[in-house]
Amino acid sequence: MRLTQGTFSFLPDLTDDQIRAQIEYCLEQGWAMSIEYTDDPHPRNTYWEMHGNPMFDLHDAAGVMVELVDARATFPRHYIKVNAFDSTKGIESLRLSFIVHRPDPEPGFTLERHEVEGRHIRYTVRSYATDRPQGERYP
């Protein structure tokens, strides 16, 4: 199962040159880059772990790539994404976010159905990976 969160997940995995080009575009817009990783890719897991603070003062794509190489080396079996943050008033949110590294294989999710009153069903999406403790989720 391929997790399709993030902007370019329907394309073949981006090469480092392609990733760098996207980071350059973000930096040109004045956005701050950050790198996050997780082994709990639930669609509502908003808070992936931060690989350091957002790099507000780093304006060079090469520097971001160094951080990315470090993140990949440290967390080879996690999902890693690159975010671009825009502090413009009225936005103050992410402007681009895309996955740049993923575990292999990706076990995906199960949909649990809790049959309650009548024909009512309550749904829970659960990641197969989170059955195991943090750090042991992707072999």
Binding site: L11, F109, R119, I121
Partner: protein
Amino acid sequence: MVSISLPWRMESQHERTADRYRAGVLKYAQMGYWDPDYEPKETDILALFRITPQDGVDPQEAAAAVAGESSTATWTVVWTDRLTAADVYRAKAYKVEPVPNSTEQYFASIAYDIDLFEPGSIANLTASIIGNVFGFKPLKALRLEDMRFPVAYVKTFDGPPTGIVVERERLDKFGRPLLGATTKPKLGLSGRNYGRVVYEALKGGLDFTKDDENINSQPFMHWRDRFGFVMEAVNRASAASGEVKGHYLNVTGATMEDVYERAEFAKELGSVVVMIDLVIGYTAIQSISKWARRNDMLLHLHRAGASTYTRQKNHGISFRVIAKWMRLAGVDHIHAGTVVGKLEGDPNTIRGFYNILREPYNPADLELGLHFDQDWAGMRKVMPVASGGIHAGQMHQLLTYLGDDVVLQFGGGTIGHPMGIQAGAIANRVALEAMVLARNEGRDIWNEGPDILAAAARTCQPLMAALDTWGEVTFDYTSTDTPDYVPTPTPA
């Protein structure tokens, strides 16, 4: 000298006031509704009307009549005006200009005191501004072109319950247009079959699917059936992709009680979004907007019926005014045109609509049809929805014209795909992501768009099939609703 002239002047003013209120019929201009020296106050509500006076009717008198009939006036003098601060409450037509390239139409600018309106009520605002005046005999036709709302009035509305920024944060989707599709056929599917279309489209890669405007609760599919099957589909697709997905459940019903009942059920089932039709009316829209705000729900508005009064340039209401009213009333999504699709849409006019919905401040820009500066005073932004006759082969045009903050809805362009609905959705998502990637890399997508799509299709059979099927389909008709101040560009 002073002691003689002052009482004389005062007496004369008294006589003039007495004359003004003598029983009988006066021209509206003489009643005080035409004041070319009036300087609009910062707190005034301003309206720009396109007026077509009957033959022989003076344009200034026609403008004064519009000001009068949309504020305090009736056809004859009434002495009871004198029990009020009538000079303040009278709307003032302060400018009349001929419409460029027209012999019989005029733009009339009218200022209204803010206290003529109930705070936070679109129903009251519209009952004044468009309540009576559009059937007025001395005018052949009348169109409300634009309005300016002062910050003091904007702040009396809640605005969108969610807004573009929070919608993206809830969905965890950034940096690209969202993708949607309307379930087809519009009518006749059972709940079970309907949910199948939803599942296939969402699993394939769309972010949203949608009820159509006239899907409510018909004999072939009652609303509870639809909601249940649709939410099964939404949750299955979410588990299959790891993404937040949604379906605009249309909660439009015959009564407000029905609307609330349907919305509550959608919430119970875990839907992230509900939908209403414009035809439920302004009061109902504001009610469900407040409900959506209380219940963390995205509110999608389908502008059903709008073209009956927005499309023709000589009479009705411009959609830019509807867009402003709906941002105030508080919806999160509104259909606002595609430029390139099957429905009416001049590029500059549509850009004007999008700016109204998405920008924190709109400077006046006649080329876009924006006649006034409009400060939105921090009000949340509405996500425009582009729907109707668009397909993957137009992705470079859609991205160029409409930008990132938009929902691109490919109904036929998903469900009609020769390899199936999932393949249709994949084709759209791949085309979109390939185009965003290329644009961010600095490529000239307007000119290289077809090459970028062809390259992406080499590793994506569904996109290849979509381009083969629809690549050449265009809807190239002349727009009727165009700005008056520039030569009109046509879509490529």
